[in-house]
């Protein structure tokens, strides 16, 4: 299928075309740029919800139950599940589609036409997402899904990139049995619009809930101090962005027992409320502006690097550097000169 066919199929609701588009985009096929260009105008309608949290907290089960609930509310749901790729072999074990069985195992959600599930490998990239997650979200958006759930790799403290693609970030935790709250790790407190304490039937649920409520009630300064003590991502904190992100929204803490479907309705309500809140206060535009800016810079950077590789003598620069004939700053200046100079020529 060429780019035209894919886009036409996708925009007319053909799942196969959507699946194929995702493959092209994920693997940066030549067609992918054209596809993204053409579908972009059709994006911006979906509510993108990211779910993050340590492995084993029950993200997959929550995704499954949320999907069911949103379907009941008449929404069409697209799901992207990201799993870690092996940094050594490049391979990956993906997707837990089983979770999508829902209550009626005769008619699993899996085969509900209002649900689309796609697994992606992070392909070694840190942060919890795959490189092309943002573009894939856009494809699902253009296809027409009302809600897009993005389930990230839940490996630990650096899995905060979810905020780059999601309108609403949901952080999932579970009760802790030790004395120390493990959750006191970087990023978790800063990025959540909604917090979920899953497996709330286990002992320790109240402890985590109260701790969260307490932490979320602290002011900016106290949280920064605390997070610095626990090795947070300094750059993000420094920007003060985190508190800006919320702008008056009090992240609710919701207890769930996802296996039994308990708390899911409340969670879905909170997600919808957050979306309404963002729209009403203009916060959604603010976040999207930031997202778009970041994305633009990223694409520009990629394109520029490509130019550097194709159109400059960067390899000579590297040799010179190794021989000590120049320094990295001078070299960079010269490369930039060359790019601008050559680009001008075109």
């Amino acid at each position: 299928m060429n780019a035209e066919e894919v886009v036409r199929g996708l925009l007319s609701g053909n799942r196969r075309a959507l699946a194929r588009a995702i493959t092209y985009v994920e693997n940066e096929y030549p067609e992918s740029k054209e596809i993204m260009k053409q579908i972009y105008p059709k994006t911006g309608k979906a509510h993108v919800v990211g779910l993050t949290g340590f492995p084993g907290v029950g993200k997959s089960t929550i995704v499954s139950k949320l999907t069911e609930e949103f379907r009941r509310r008449g929404k069409r749901v697209g799901i992207i599940a990201i799993d870690p790729g092996s940094p050594f072999t490049g391979g990956a074990l993906l997707g837990d589609r089983l979770r999508l069985d829902g209550m009626d195992t005769r008619k699993p959600l899996w085969t509900d036409p209002g649900v689309f599930f796609r697994s992606m490998s992070s392909r070694g990239r840190a942060g919890g997402l795959a490189a092309k997650t943002g573009d894939v979200v856009r494809l699902l958006d253009a296809f027409g899904f009302d809600i897009i759930l993005v389930e990230t790799v839940g490996a630990g403290q650096s899995e905060v990139d979810i905020i780059e693609v999601a309108d609403t970030s949901v952080v999932v935790l579970m009760p802790e049995t030790g004395d120390e709250i493990q959750v006191n790790k970087a990023g978790i407190l800063e990025i959540g619009d909604i917090y979920v304490v899953n497996k709330a039937d286990l002992g320790g649920a109240e402890k985590v809930e109260r701790w969260l409520q307490y932490m979320l009630s602290l002011d900016e300064e106290s949280v920064q101090m605390l997070s610095q003590m626990t090795h947070a991502d300094e750059a993000r904190l420094a920007s003060g962005e985190f508190f800006e992100r919320r702008k008056g929204w009090n992240p609710p803490v919701i207890k769930t027992v996802a296996d039994r479907g308990e708390g899911i309705r409340e969670l879905a309500d909170a997600i919808e409320e957050h979306f309404e809140y963002m729209k009403k206060t203009g916060l959604i535009d603010k976040r999207r502006r930031e997202r778009v800016k970041r994305e633009l810079f990223e694409i520009v950077m990629n394109d520029v690097i490509k130019l550097v590789k194709e159109k400059t003598d960067y390899r000579e620069m590297i040799m010179k550097l190794l021989k000590g004939e120049t320094d990295p700053y001078t070299a960079a200046e010269q490369i930039v000169e060359e790019v601008i100079h050559n680009a001008g020529k075109e």
Binding site: G56, L93, D96, L98, D101
Partner: protein, 559 residues
């Protein structure tokens, strides 16, 4: 013992080391299949810590290391019980009569997948699977045909069935009634072991807690009504087939046994009444001595557990009685006749390990259900061991072997470590520990890791499988392959339709309503199941009610 240790050191320095320098060893390190390192040779010093009277003793007495009965096969040979079943009830009935004529001494039933999963032959999910891997049973009518001409007071029948085990037991009891045989006399076993399904075999319908509740219902009902019938076969066979090591097989099986005992005791069941109706089921794999040691360790562990942990008073409650099947997963499709040899070695291990009954695999089992000829050879294997080899004439002949006693003790110790780990997961309770392990994927992950490790050893050529990665030939398979007639499905569906049309549907409805109410009110489900079965309710209908009340289980994916 110092003399022995000194002598050993001398031997190692003066005799072994020079020899090694000259001729070397085949491997750097020698291990059992489970990864236990084994030395060149064993001596009295290796079993110094083992006390004959405390740890080995005599057969028929605590700790039963040497066997549960005082004279074992000198009194009665193990039961030769070949697992079989396919197609419709008539087909299986015919195969059984042939096996009984050939000298088989116990029946063992294989059911097809729809029956195993508790669904009927006319269910869309059953399409293509009816009668393929075992006999199709939908209602009591199938049982009537299955046991036509087979007197229930003269045979013992084993049923490999798990989620619908109670239903099958009820059917067997109903047949006994029809034959005029008092149910107090019927003998046999229902596998009825759901825990191992969650760990390995995956015949899953209801979630763990309701599954255990129903099993305890069967215990409670069974000790009253069918006192000679084994109400469970606590299985390690399937755990091993899924790829576990021998140690894991032993440990997880014993752990499951403990969980069931605790569940029964929580219900208030007298352990000494239940214990004689518990049985076990192990695998017999290729590592000859490891398997023998495993069986001996199992008996010793269970005796200790029943007497000292659970306080059973009757010595019969301390017995671990088991059935063994030779390892299906060790059979190869390549050069199938080699499988006869493998099965023989495995059968020998089971006999030397003191099994109460034995199934030997047929050599064509890697391809399809066994042909008549292949089944006959498998049975003859047991008969030759029994009548020609002299092995059954002395009880536990390997006792006292420095290696075997050392290995028995070693395997026992390694298994205890797992037991303690599971106990910790359950904060002191084995029942909760096993349930927690099912929930967090502990068992599945252990087994999966062991399976992956085994495969890697084969792929890298470090483990030899004769005929597969070494000593291979160009081959064309000429064994007769038993295929199931596709007509079977049609015939079975037709029979089912007829039964449904001719039965008293009101009675069925009432019985199912009673079952629903019993399930919802936490009552024993066996009486209503008995009623439903007698009114010709189908397995699918009965399981359907239970699924509605208790929900359906979906296994989390752990690779």
């Amino acid at each position: 013992m110092t003399n022995v240790n000194e002598k050993r050191k001398e031997w190692e320095e003066k005799c072994l080391k020079p020899w090694l320098r000259k001729t070397g060893q085949r491997e750097e390190r020698f291990e059992t299949l489970s990864g236990i390192e084994v030395k060149t040779v064993y001596d009295p010093a290796d079993i110094e810590h083992i006390d004959f009277l405390r740890d080995i003793g005599y057969p028929g007495e605590y700790p039963f290391t040497r066997g549960v009965y005082p004279n074992m096969y000198r009194g009665r040979l193990w039961t030769m019980r070949q697992f079989s079943g396919f197609g419709t009830a008539e087909d299986t009935n015919r195969r059984w009569k042939m096996l009984l004529e050939e000298g088989e001494t116990g029946l063992s039933t294989a059911f097809d997948f729809p029956t195993l999963m508790g669904i009927d032959s006319d269910d869309p999910l059953a399409d293509g699977e009816v009668g393929k891997v075992g006999v199709a049973v939908d209602t009591l009518k199938d049982f009537e045909i299955l046991f036509d001409g087979i007197p229930l007071d003269q045979v013992s029948t084993s049923f490999t069935i798990n989620p619908p085990a109670g239903i099958i037991l009820a059917m067997y009891v109903a047949i006994a009634e029809k034959q005029g045989v008092p149910k107090e006399k019927i003998r046999g076993t229902i596998q009825n072991d759901m825990l191992k399904e969650f760990h390995a075999q995956n015949t899953l319908v209801l979630p763990p807690e309701p599954s255990i509740k129903i099993i305890v219902d069967i215990f409670e009902w069974g000790i009253e009504h069918v006192p000679k019938f084994n109400l469970i076969s606590i299985s390690g066979y399937h755990i091993r087939e899924a790829g576990s090591t021998a140690v894991q097989e032993l440990a997880f099986t014993i752990a499951d046994g403990m969980a069931y005992v605790e569940a029964a005791m929580e219900r208030g069941i007298d352990i000494d009444r239940l214990a004689p109706q518990l049985s076990f089921f192990f695998n017999s794999h290729n590592d000859f001595f490891e398997e023998i040691a495993k069986f001996r360790a199992a008996r010793r562990m269970w005796a200790k557990i029943m007497r000292d942990e659970y306080g059973a008073k009757d010595p019969r409650s301390w017995w671990l009685k088991f059935h063994t099947q030779t390892a299906g997963c060790s059979l190869t499709a390549q050069q199938p006749l080699n499988n006869i040899v493998r099965t023989t070695i495995q059968a020998l291990a089971a006999v030397l390990g003191g099994t109460q009954s034995l199934h030997t695999n047929s050599f064509d089992e890697a391809w399809a259900l066994p042909s008549e000829e292949a089944v006959r050879v498998a049975l003859r294997t047991q008969q030759i061991i029994a009548y020609e080899s002299g092995i059954p004439n002395v009880v536990d002949p390997l006792a006292g072997s420095y290696y075997v006693e050392w290995l028995t003790d070693k395997i026992e110790k390694l298994a205890w470590r797992y037991i303690e780990e599971i106990r910790k997961m359950g904060e002191g309770s084995m029942l909760r520990g096993v349930l927690r392990g099912i929930e967090n994927g502990f068992f599945v992950r252990e087994i999966s890791d062991a399976a992956a490790r085994y495969q890697r050893e084969i792929e890298e050529g470090r483990r030899i499988v004769v005929g597969v990665n070494k000593f291979t030939i160009e081959e064309e398979l000429k064994i007769p392959i038993l295929k199931v007639d596709p007509e079977v499905q049609r015939r079975q569906i037709e029979r089912l339709r007829k039964v449904k049309a001719e039965r008293d549907n009101e009675a069925v409805k009432e019985a199912l309503e009673w079952l629903r109410s019993a399930a919802e009110n936490d009552e024993n489900v066996m009486p209503p199941i008995m009623e439903a079965v007698k009114s010709y309710a189908t397995i699918g209908e009965i399981m359907g009610v239970l699924k509605e009340v208790y929900g359906t289980y979906k296994k989390p994916i752990i690779i």
